[in-house]
Subunit: 148 residues, 2 copies
DNA sequence: CTACAGGGTTGGAAAAATCAACCCTCTGTG
DNA sequence: CACAGAGGGTTGATTTTTCCAACCCTGTAG
């Protein structure tokens, strides 16, 4: 009778998706990354419905990824900026951009360039050993134990 | 007069999301990356409803990210594997995993380790200049012109 | 004969996303 | 003053997705 009931795998990929995995969220973050900070412009550039955009911005704000800043009183006007946590989503955007360029047949889109002028071509290396990261090696380790 | 009608930004991030951006898709790809290839196990490990999983696998297959392989006749049984395109989604998974570990308060999850034994800590560098990639620099360049 | 593995499909209920229209505060124009 | 536009949303009705539980089918094990 020990019904183990098989919970889904708890992992940080799922945890990330719980924050930014809803429809439109990543495109909103893309716009903020590109320096577009206002509701109307974000709405136009992403194509998200206004009500959904409103809801996503609130969600991202409550998750600490986005900050709302008053830039004018009378009438109050806000703009949205990435927090540090939001800024660190950049590698995700870059990886998505690169994959899409390589594996989708978008031909009319803009190209992503690195500041050096070269077309986006990322290398992902392990900060510890310097080796290229190829495998996905999951190991269970409960981090709460290091908190004494 | 000239109604520009402001189409949303065409970009490869959006193109990628059109392929893998639906709910559960990335978790399915995570499982395949981890070597879990069968319907039931993917269903248990992700927590996705069976009908949705079925629909996602078909979608990913038709997008060329996943391949369905018969591993037994009588009764016919299939397993799912990543194609080369699917395999190259790995950097996206890794970036998501890393961000989640740093910015979400998941404490009971497993940790991702590189094969060298160190905890996941990625460096993203430009293959051309070797410099760390920090900016997101979008430039319009129509690629169809180089196809003569 | 019954149970279980494996891989799904089906129908109905619940939740999300979409769309169009509206609201509110100002500022600028005639 | 009246009206339009910028900017940032909200509201209500409709359509799509998701979710859930139950079912189906083939074959093996007890």
């Amino acid at each position: 009778m020990s019904e183990v009931e098989a919970a889904p795998r708890a992992c940080t990929i799922a945890a990330s998706l719980a924050v930014i995995g809803e429809k439109w969220s990543i495109l909103v973050i893309r716009e903020l990354s590109l320096g577009v900070h206002r509701f109307d412009a974000i709405q136009r550039n992403t194509g998200a419905p206004r009500d959904i955009l409103s809801s996503r911005l609130r969600r991202l704000e409550s998750e600490g990824v986005v900050e709302k800043q008053l830039y004018q009183l009378h009438p109050p006007r806000y703009e949205y900026r990435l927090t540090e946590a939001g800024d660190e989503l950049r590698p995700i955007l870059l990886s998505l951009a690169e994959w899409g360029a390589r594996w989708t047949d978008e031909t009319t889109h803009a190209t992503w360039l690195h500041e050096c002028g070269a077309e986006l071509d990322l290398k992902h290396t392990c900060a510890a050993c310097g080796g290229e990261v190829t495998g996905l090696d999951l190991r269970r380790r409960h981090r709460s134990e290091s908190a004494a």
